[in-house]
């Protein structure tokens, strides 16, 4: 990033290779839509490209990229909500965006695993965005509490609380599923 901010255009490919896999993984988990994730990753990297001249020497790139991606997810969701309200005809396609894609089970244990996965996903999707992102950053991306707090623009204790609420909600799903089976 340092070289790229100085105008070395070829360094963008290296930057892409360094951050894109992790960023795309985060976006896929956050959106559950490969096309949306790829689109958001492209937008995130273009935002980084546009702001390369403002890069602070020595600053970490990943928290910045995650924060931009998260902002784009939130803005996109808001925009879709508005569009859905305005154009009810086009809402079918949009409404399906970010919904989990189910697959036909092949065996009983696979059916059970699929159901459990779907329930966890549904519960994760139903969580407030701040709780869901805190969970994804800590559990899926393996970030530290401090790193997640920096990306979310809040305190470490707030991240702990959000993640804790997400864990409680997900544990409840597991408990319910266990009782039913």
């Amino acid at each position: 990033m340092e070289r790229y901010s100085h105008g070395e255009d070829a360094a963008f490919a290296e930057l892409y290779d360094a951050i894109a896999p992790r960023l795309l993984g985060f976006l896929r988990k956050a959106t559950r839509d490969d096309f949306a994730a790829e689109d958001l990753m492209q937008q995130t990297l273009l935002q980084i490209h546009r702001a390369r001249g403002t890069f602070i020497p020595g600053a970490r790139v990943m928290p910045w990229a995650f924060a931009i991606a998260r902002r784009l997810i939130i803005d996109g969701a808001r925009r879709r909500r508005v569009e859905r309200r305005l154009f009810s005809d086009t809402s079918v396609d949009d409404a399906e965006t970010y919904e989990p894609v189910g697959e036909m089970p092949t065996a009983d244990d696979l059916v059970h695993a699929r159901r459990l996965e779907q329930r966890v996903r549904e519960r994760l999707d139903a969580l407030p965005e701040v709780q869901r992102t805190a969970y994804l950053l800590l559990q899926q991306e393996g970030l530290s509490l401090k790193g997640a707090a920096e990306i979310l623009g809040t305190s470490v204790s707030a991240v702990k609380l959000r993640a804790h609420r997400a864990y409680v909600a997900l544990r409840a799903v597991l408990r319910e599923t266990g009782e039913q089976s």
Binding site: Q42, I68, D93
Partner: protein, 249 residues
Amino acid sequence: MNAELRARVLSAAAAEESPTRAQVTRRNMFLSMVAAASGFAAFVVFAVFMSEGEMVRLGGDVAVQQHVERSILLVLMTAGGALAVAAAALWLAVLRGQSMLGRPGRWLLLGCVLIPIGLFAWKVGWSFVFGDPMMAWPGRSGLRCLSVSLLVALGPLLSFVAMRRSVPLHPALNGAAMGVAAGACAWVATDLWCPVAYVPHLLLGHVLPLVILACLGALLGRAMLTLRRGLQPTITGRRRSGPVAGSSQ
């Protein structure tokens, strides 16, 4: 990784010009000069047309046969303290520290609250020590101070917003902090010019502009500092509902 996606992102970036650090540094230097020059010019114009050319006022007629003077030491103390607070406000709102995400939201919020309180307390405290300037001035409600503060701060505020361009976290709060920083700079100029330290006058003419500028900054931040600005649709020729071709996990 998906090679097609990689090629698409790289070509999209190559197709769009973006300023390098040297260009951004030059642009920010220019904007800093514009901020300083616009603030100073507004103050000079105001002083020439509204105050008979006086940029530092040491006193005035409160009423018939009642004249109040403030000492140079008081002016130095109040304006000097305000200058230090303004410098701290600029450090908080305009610089970003060592993180690309800027200052934490709590810092910005605290700054927006504490900077006006600090400036007000400093002014009242020193004026209280010296006594005289705290008396009521019937002819000076504070409207002229309000207008000079807004006039002086407007150029710097716009320059600060132009310097940051895009903020992924708390754009409105960042804008509000910039408004307060611009207002704190204007406070120094107003403090030099205005000899009144009567509390209702200070609240109307000196503190209220900071509140107005914070609100204006928040609106500007929300409108101009968000990432949405200048964003173009990126993926073309591919249907969202189409097959997940080429995606790799």
